[in-house]
Symmetry: C2
Subunit: 207 residues, 2 copies
C-alpha cells in the first residue's frame, strides 16, 4: 500500500497522539483536527481507526533486520565489538520508535482488541534468529561463555531502555535531565554504555 502525503500526515499525527493519549484516549476527531483534514478521511483512507493502527505498526517496523545482519556479517571485527554495536543499534532504533512500541506493548497485553500484530511478532522472531546465530558463533569461538539464555538478552537490552522510558519522570529528576538535549545525550551515552557493559559482563564471565 502506497501512501500519499496526506495519508503520511495522518499516520504521523496518529502515532504521536496514540502514544501520548493512548489508543482509546485518542479520538478520530482529534487526529483529523491535528492533521488538518476531515474526520471522514480516516475511514476513507484506512477503513477504520483500528486499521490505521495496524497499518502504522507494519510500516514502522521494517528494515531493522537488515541493519542487524550488516553488523553481524562484519567478521573482521571482534565479537565484543559487534555486540556493542548491536546493543547501540537496538537502543537507537527503539528510542526512535518508542511511541509505536508503547502502543504495541499495550495492545499485545490488551484483551479488548483483536489485533494480533503478526508482522511485529514474525519480525521479532527473525531478529532473534540472527542474534542467536551470532551468539552461538561467539560461543564456538570461545569468546562468549557456554550457558546463556539467548532469548532473554533482548528483553534485558530493550527492557532497560523501556523501564527508563516509562519512568522518565523519575530518572529525569535523579539525573537532572532538565532539557530534551541532555536527555538525548544521556540515552546515547550513559544508558547505552550501561547496557553494553551489562551484556558484555553477562555473556563473557562464568559464575
Amino acid at each position: 500500500m502506497e501512501l500519499n502525503d496526506k495519508q503520511k500526515e495522518i499516520v504521523q499525527v496518529a502515532e504521536k497522539l496514540f502514544a501520548e493519549y493512548g489508543f482509546d484516549g485518542t479520538s478520530v476527531r482529534l487526529i483529523a483536527k491535528e492533521a488538518g483534514i476531515n474526520i471522514a478521511m480516516i475511514s476513507y483512507y484506512f477503513g477504520s481507526k483500528e486499521k490505521l493502527l495496524e497499518h502504522m505498526v507494519v510500516h514502522r517496523m521494517s528494515g531493522f533486520k537488515v541493519n542487524l545482519d550488516e553488523i553481524i556479517a562484519q567478521d573482521d571485527r571482534s565479537y565484543h565489538d559487534r555486540l556493542n554495536e548491536i546493543v547501540a543499534l537496538y537502543v537507537k532504533r527503539i528510542h526512535k520508535n518508542n511511541r509505536i512500541y508503547k502502543i504495541v506493548h499495550n495492545e499485545l497485553t490488551n484483551n479488548a482488541r483483536s489485533l494480533t500484530f503478526e508482522h511485529y511478532l514474525s519480525q521479532k522472531k527473525k531478529n532473534l534468529d540472527s542474534v542467536t546465530k551470532f551468539i552461538e558463533a561467539g560461543q564456538k569461538a570461545h569468546v562468549f561463555k557456554k550457558h546463556i539464555e539467548i532469548p532473554l538478552l533482548i528483553p534485558s537490552i530493550l527492557g532497560t531502555y523501556f523501564h527508563f522510558h516509562y519512568n522518565q519522570r523519575f530518572y529525569e529528576e535523579s539525573y537532572g535531565l532538565n532539557t530534551p538535549e541532555s536527555k538525548e545525550l544521556f540515552i546515547e551515552t550513559t544508558l547505552t554504555k550501561h547496557i553494553q557493559k551489562m551484556l558484555n559482563a553477562l555473556i563473557t564471565y562464568e559464575d
Copy 2:
C-alpha cells in the same frame, strides 16, 4: 481511608479490568457489572473513575521497602547472596502486581490525565536510596566494582521482566510456555536466574 468489603471488591475488579482493557477501554458499567454493584456506587464511594485509579495505586504500592531493608540488614550474609535475594524480591513483587504497574507506566507517559502518582515516585526514590546504600557498602568492602550506574540497576531488573511480560505472546512460543503453571515456573526460575546472573556479572567484573 478504610475500605469495606464492597469497596475492596470494586478495587479488585477495576484493577483487573484496567490492566486487561486499559483505563479508557474499561467502562464503569463493566466494572459495576463484574463487581455485581450498581454503576452509581463507583461515584458514590470513590468520587470518580479517575479517583478510583489513584486510590488503587496508592494502596497497592506499600510495604515493599520494608522487605527490601530486611534483606539488606542481614549483614551476616554475603553481598552476592543478598543481591540475589533483592533481585528475586523485585521480580516476585513486580510480577505479583504487574497489572497495576502496567497502568502506572501508561499513565505516567500519558498527557491526557493529570495524575501525578506522587506516592509511586516517592516510594521509588526511597527504594533507590536503600539499594544505593547497599551497593556502596559492597563497593567499600571491595566485593562490587567501582564504576556502577546504580540508578540504572533497577531498570535492568524490572525492565527485563517487563519486556518479557509485554511480549509474553512471543516468549510463550519461544519457550513453549503453554500452561499458566509453566509460565509461572519459568519466571520464578529461568527468568529470575538470568537477571541474577546478569546483575552479578555487571557489578562484579571490571571491563
